[in-house]
C-alpha cells in the first residue's frame, strides 16, 4: 500500500488539475463615470456654400441642427477666451425663412429667403434688421461674392459695445416681441435662460496633448450640456466633434481617445464650446413650420492641441 501512495497522489495531482480547469475571470474595472454620461459624435463638415458660416460658438446651435428649421430664435450669453483675453457677448438672433422661396443655384439648394417680420424686440429692445448673405466661394463666375437672401434680426452686445443695454442674464425670463408683417401675425415668444456656465479648467492658455485625458471643471448647472469642438482657422470655425455631457456635478474627464479624433494635422487650435442650452419648439399662427427657440450659456475656450 505504501508503494501505491505516490502514484495515487500523482493521480490526485491530475484530478486536481482537471478540477481546476476554470479560467480566471478578468477583473472588470468599474468606470468612475458611466459611458452613457459621455456621448461622442463626429460632425459632418459644413458646406462652404451654406447659408451661413458656423456660428455654434455664438449661438450654441449647429448648422445642421439649425438647418432643420425654417425659423430660429436664439438667445445666448457667450464668454470667449483666447489666450488671456476674455470677450463676453450677449447675443440674440431671429430668422424666419420662407420655404416657398428657395435659393438655389443650378439645382443646388442653398437656402430659403428670409421673411420680414416687421419690428422685433427682445425684452423691449429693438433688434437690428440685417441682410443674410450666401457665400459663393466655390463658384468662380461669382468670384467669391455673396448674395443677399433676405432679412434676419440680430442684437449683440460685444464687451459692452454696440447694444450695451442688452445683457444676457442667467436663469432669467426673456421674451421676443414680434410686431409681425403680412403674412406673419404679431407674436411673443418667451424663453427661460439656463444657469451660466463658466469653465474653470482647462484654461484658455493651455496646450493640451491629445494623448492625455482632459479634465474639465465648470460651475453652473445645466440640464443639457454639450461640448462642441471646432477647428479654428482665422475667423472660421469648423465643428468637428460633438460631445454630449450628461453630468451636472461640475467635472468630467474627456478621454484622450476622444481628443485623438481631432485632426491636429489640419488645425492647430480648436475652439471648445461648452454649451448649456434650454431649447424648445414653438409655433405661431400664419407660419406653418415650427420655430426652434434656444437660450444658451456658452463658454468658448480656445486651446492648442498637440
Amino acid at each position: 500500500m505504501k508503494k501505491l501512495l505516490p502514484p495515487l497522489f500523482l493521480l490526485a495531482n491530475i484530478i486536481v488539475f482537471l478540477c481546476g480547469c476554470h479560467d480566471k475571470v478578468p477583473l472588470e474595472v468599474t468606470p468612475d463615470q458611466p459611458a452613457e454620461d459621455l456621448e461622442v459624435a463626429s460632425l459632418q463638415p459644413s458646406v462652404e456654400t451654406s447659408l451661413s458660416k458656423s456660428a455654434v460658438d455664438t449661438t450654441g446651435v449647429l448648422n445642421t441642427e439649425q438647418s432643420k428649421y425654417r425659423a430660429t430664435m436664439f438667445l445666448s450669453g457667450v464668454k470667449y477666451d483666447v489666450g488671456t483675453t476674455r470677450q463676453t457677448v450677449s447675443y440674440s438672433s431671429v430668422t424666419f425663412s420662407d420655404k416657398n422661396l428657395p435659393v438655389d443655384l443650378d439645382g443646388r439648394e442653398l437656402g430659403f429667403r428670409g421673411i420680414d417680420l416687421g419690428r422685433v424686440q427682445i425684452n423691449g429692445m429693438d433688434m437690428i434688421q440685417t441682410q443674410r448673405f450666401i457665400h459663393l466661394f466655390d463658384l468662380p463666375i461669382f468670384d467669391g461674392r455673396d448674395t443677399a437672401v433676405g432679412p434676419a434680426y440680430v442684437l449683440a452686445n460685444r464687451n459692452g459695445k454696440d447694444a450695451k443695454d442688452f445683457n444676457f442674464r442667467a436663469n432669467s425670463q426673456f421674451e421676443w416681441n414680434v410686431s409681425g408683417k403680412i403674412p406673419i401675425d404679431p407674436f411673443r415668444v418667451p424663453v427661460q435662460t439656463p444657469d451660466e456656465i463658466t469653465i474653470i479648467s482647462p484654461k484658455s492658455t493651455s496646450i493640451i496633448s491629445k494623448n492625455d485625458d482632459l479634465h474639465v471643471q465648470w460651475t453652473g448647472k445645466a440640464e443639457s450640456f454639450r461640448l462642441i469642438i471646432s477647428g479654428l482657422r482665422g475667423s472660421d470655425i469648423q465643428p468637428i466633434l460633438q460631445i454630449n455631457l450628461k453630468k451636472s456635478d461640475g467635472n468630467i474627464t474627456i478621454p484622450a481617445k476622444i481628443l485623438a479624433l481631432l485632426p491636429t494635422n489640419t488645425y492647430r487650435t480648436f475652439v471648445f464650446s461648452f454649451i448649456s442650452s434650454k431649447t424648445m419648439e414653438s409655433q405661431v399662427s400664419n407660419f406653418s413650420d415650427e420655430i426652434f427657440v434656444a437660450a444658451s450659456s456658452i463658454h468658448d475656450v480656445v486651446l492648442t492641441v498637440q
Binding site: K24, L27, Q44
Partner: protein, 670 residues
C-alpha cells in the same frame, strides 16, 4: 559564532522587504517563506531552496478567489511543476503556471453615437500580465550554504480599442483593436544559509536581471508592469522541533511574519501576516493554513485575507486602478481573498541519510595464507556517526573486488542520536586471494546501512508472577542476596557489640581477631535472638537481617543470613553450606562457616581437634581456617553452635561426601 555571521549579513543587506508569491499554499500559510522554502515553490520564493528536493518532486496548486461581486469562477488550476536533484549538490526545477496571471478589463467611459450606427465599444483596454513559465537551478556549496537562480518568463499584453474618423461620403467614427505585447525574462538570485540547526537565513535579489524580448509602444508603456529590483531577506527560527518562526523583510518596505506549528503527527498549522509601508493598511493581509505530510506526500491548504475591503473585494473603480501601481503579476492591490490548495509528491530516492562514516581504519594487512581468519577477526574499524535525531541500527559492509564474492556485513549496532560507534568489520575472501603473487594495494568499499531502530517489531503480553521481597526460590546461590552487611541496623548491632568488647578485643592475638569477633557477635546474637519457625509456613520465606534483628528471631535461613551479614559488616567472610540430603530432600538445611583468616598451618591456635574446623581456599586464593556454625543452636551459645556445625560438616561433607556427590553446596557470600 553563527550570530556574528548573522550580524555581518545584516550589515551587508540592510532591512529588506518581501513581496508575496502565491504559487504554494504552504508559502501563503506561513507568509514569510524566504528562509524556509525547500520545495518546488522555491522557484518563486528563493531558488536556493531547490537543493532540498530529495530526488524527484512533482507538485500542483489550485485555488479559488473569494470576491464580493459575484464573479467567483470556481476552482482554477494555478501551476504544476517538477524538480530534480542531481549529482548530490545540484537541483533544477521547472514550472508551468497557467493560473499565474492577472487580467484587467478597463471599460470605455464614453459612447460613440454616429449617424451611421450606434457604436458602443464597451472596452477601452484589456490588460494581461502573466508568468506562466519558470525554471531554476540551485547548488549546494556546503552543508550550510546553498545558492540558486531562477528565471521567470513574463508576458504582458494590452489590447487597446482605438477610434478614428472616417471621412468618406459621410464622416463617422470607427474603431479598431490593436494588440501589443511586452515580454521579458526576469532573473532572481537566492541564497540560503543554515546558521545553526535552529536558525536559517535566506536572501533573494529579485528581478536582478531583466532580459527584454519586446516592449509596448511608447504611448502604452505606462501600462508596463513596474518590475522593481529588490532585495528580500528572511530568517527562520526553530525554538523546538515542532515550531518554526519566520520573518521576511524587503527593501521595498514590506514584510511578512508567520509561524508553523506541528500540532499533531504530520499535521501543521500555519499563520502569518503581511505588512508594509507601501501597503494600505499597514497590516495588509493575514493568512492561515494547514499542512499534512506523510513521508513523501505533502498537502497544504491556505487562506489569504486582505483587511482592506475596498480594492481587494473585486469591485475596483477606474480611479482606484489608476491610483494604485502594480508591481507583481499576482500579488497587488487588486488581489482578492482566496483559498489555495497544493499537493506535492517526492519520488525516487527519498530516504534521508541516517548515518555517516567518520573514519575508516584498516587494522591489518592481508596475508593470503591466513585470509580465512578475517572471517571472524576484524580487518578494520569504522567510526559510524548517527546524524539523525533518532536511534538507528547500523551495519557495516566491506567489499574488496575481485577477492570477495559479495560484501561481508557486520551485525547491527544500535547508535543513539549524535553518537559515534566503532564498528569492526570482517571480510570473507574467495579463493582468488590465494593466487596473488605480488604485493598490491587495493581499494575496498566500505559502506554503512542504517535504519531507524524500532523499539520492537512485534508486541505480545506475558503474565509474570512477582514474589514478595521476602520470598526465596530455595537456591543457596541466591540466599546471599538477602545479606545486608551495610544496613544501619546491622552496623549498629555490630558496632555496639564490638565497642562494648573493646577492652577484651585489645588483648586478643591479632591472628585470632576475626575468630573473636565472630564469637562475640554470635554470643550477643544468641542473647538477643531466638530460633522461631517461618511465619508464613513456607520454607521459601527469608527475612532480611534488619527484620531478623527487629523481630529478635527467625528460622535457620533467617539466622544464617543475619549472622553472615553481621560477620560481613566486621570484615569476616563467610560461606553458606546448603545441604539437601538425597534420601530425604525435605530435610534440606542451611548452615554456615566463617573464615578466621588464619593460615592453615596455625590451626592449632583455634582448635587442636582437626574435625572442628575446615581448611579451604578463600576468595583471595589462600588456604585458611573456616569454622562451621549451626546458627539454629543460637540459644546454646557459640561453642555449641560451633560443635554442631563442625559435626554436621563432618557428616555431610567428609563422611557423606556430599560435596563430591553434589547434595552439599558451599556458596561463598563475602
Amino acid at each position: 559564532m553563527w550570530w556574528s555571521r548573522l550580524g555581518i549579513a545584516a550589515l551587508l543587506f540592510p532591512a529588506l522587504a518581501a513581496s508575496q508569491h502565491l504559487s504554494s499554499a504552504r508559502g501563503i500559510g506561513l507568509a514569510a517563506f524566504i528562509a524556509s522554502s525547500n520545495d518546488l515553490s522555491s522557484l518563486d520564493w528563493n531558488p536556493a531552496g531547490l537543493v532540498f528536493v530529495k530526488d524527484w518532486q512533482v507538485g500542483a496548486t489550485n485555488f479559488f478567489s473569494l470576491t464580493t461581486n459575484g464573479r467567483n469562477n470556481g476552482l482554477i488550476f494555478h501551476n504544476t511543476g517538477i524538480a530534480k536533484q542531481f549529482l548530490s549538490n545540484n537541483a533544477v526545477g521547472i514550472r508551468y503556471a497557467p493560473g499565474n496571471n492577472s487580467q484587467f478589463v478597463i471599460p470605455n467611459i464614453f459612447t460613440v453615437i454616429d449617424t451611421t450606427s450606434n457604436i458602443q465599444a464597451k472596452v477601452d483596454k484589456q490588460l494581461s500580465y502573466a508568468e506562466h513559465y519558470a525554471l531554476g537551478y540551485a547548488f549546494r556549496f556546503n552543508e550550510d550554504l546553498s545558492f540558486g537562480i531562477s528565471a521567470r518568463y513574463r508576458e504582458e499584453q494590452i489590447t487597446d480599442t482605438q477610434f478614428f474618423t472616417v471621412r468618406d461620403s459621410l464622416t463617422y467614427i470607427s474603431t479598431k483593436t490593436l494588440s501589443s505585447s511586452a515580454n521579458s525574462w526576469n532573473l532572481d538570485l537566492g541564497m540560503l544559509w543554515e546558521l545553526s540547526p535552529q536558525w536559517k537565513l535566506g536572501v533573494v535579489a529579485e528581478n536582478l536581471f531583466k532580459i527584454l524580448e519586446s516592449e509596448f509602444p511608447e504611448d502604452l508603456r505606462s501600462f508596463t508592469l513596474d518590475t522593481r529590483k529588490a532585495i528580500r531577506s528572511g530568517i527562520s527560527y526553530m525554538p523546538r522541533k515542532d515550531l518554526l518562526l519566520a520573518l521576511d523583510i524587503s527593501t521595498t518596505g514590506d514584510g511578512a511574519a508567520g509561524y508553523e506549528w506541528n500540532v499533531w503527527d504530520n499535521l501543521q498549522l500555519r499563520q502569518g501576516i503581511i505588512v508594509g509601508n507601501t501597503l494600505s493598511p499597514f497590516i495588509n493581509a493575514a493568512t492561515v493554513g494547514l499542512g499534512w505530510s506523510a513521508k513523501t506526500i505533502h498537502a497544504d491548504l491556505a487562506y489569504l485575507h486582505f483587511y482592506d475591503r475596498g480594492t481587494h473585494s473585486g469591485n475596483v473603480t477606474l480611479n482606484d486602478f489608476t491610483s494604485h501601481s502594480i508591481h507583481d503579476v499576482e500579488f497587488h492591490p487588486f488581489t482578492s481573498d482566496q483559498v489555495r490548495f497544493s499537493i506535492s509528491v517526492d519520488l525516487g530516492h527519498t530516504k534521508e541519510p541516517l548515518a555517516r562514516i567518520d573514519y575508516v581504519e584498516v587494522t591489518s594487512d592481508i596475508y593470503p595464507s591466513s585470509s580465512e581468519t578475517f572471517a571472524y577477526r576484524p580487518i578494520g574499524r569504522v567510526k559510524v556517526r548517527n546524524i539523525s535525531d533518532q536511534p538507528i541500527e547500523a551495519k557495516v559492509g566491506f567489499y574488496l573486488k575481485p577477492f570477495m564474492d559479495a560484501p561481508t556485513e557486520t551485525r547491527r549496532y544500535v547508535i543513539q542520536p549524535g553518537a559515534v560507534s566503532d564498528i569492526p568489520f570482517i571480510a570473507v575472501f574467495n579463493d582468488l586471494i590465494k593466487s596473488v603473487t605480488e604485493p598490491q594495494l587495493r581499494d575496498g568499499d566500505v559502506y554503512v546501512i542504517a535504519s531507524p531502530a524500532e523499539e520492537y517489531d512485534d508486541k505480545s503480553q506475558a503474565r509474570v508472577r512477582i514474589y514478595s521481597r521476602n520470598n526465596w526460590n530455595g537456591e543457596a546461590l541466591t540466599l546471599r542476596y538477602f545479606m545486608t552487611p551495610t544496613e544501619p541496623d546491622v552496623l549498629r548491632f555490630t558496632r555496639s557489640v564490638v565497642s562494648s568488647h573493646k577492652d577484651h578485643l585489645n588483648t586478643v592475638n591479632p591472628a585470632l581477631l576475626k575468630f573473636e569477633h565472630a564469637k562475640i557477635l554470635f554470643n550477643e546474637f544468641a542473647l538477643r535472638l531466638s530460633y522461631v519457625n517461618d511465619p508464613k509456613l513456607s520454607k521459601d520465606w527469608v527475612q532480611y537481617p534488619g527484620e531478623t534483628l527487629s523481630l529478635h528471631g527467625g528460622d535457620c535461613d533467617d539466622m544464617t543470613v543475619c549472622f553472615a551479614s553481621l560477620l560481613a559488616s566486621v570484615g569476616v567472610s563467610s560461606a553458606f553450606i546448603d545441604v539437601v540430603p538425597p534420601n530425604n530432600p525435605g530435610d534440606a538445611h542451611i548452615y554456615m562457616m566463617f573464615d578466621t583468616g588464619l593460615e592453615a598451618s596455625k590451626a592449632d591456635v583455634v582448635s587442636k581437634n582437626r574435625k572442628r574446623y575446615v581448611v579451604r581456599r578463600n576468595q583471595d586464593g589462600s588456604e585458611t581456617i573456616w569454622i562451621p556454625i549451626e546458627t539454629t543452636q543460637i540459644t546454646k551459645g557459640f561453642e555449641e553452635a560451633w560443635a554442631t556445625g563442625a559435626k554436621e560438616y563432618l557428616d555431610d561433607v567428609e563422611l557423606g561426601l556430599g560435596l563430591i556427590k553434589g547434595w552439599v553446596k558451599i556458596v561463598d557470600v563475602q
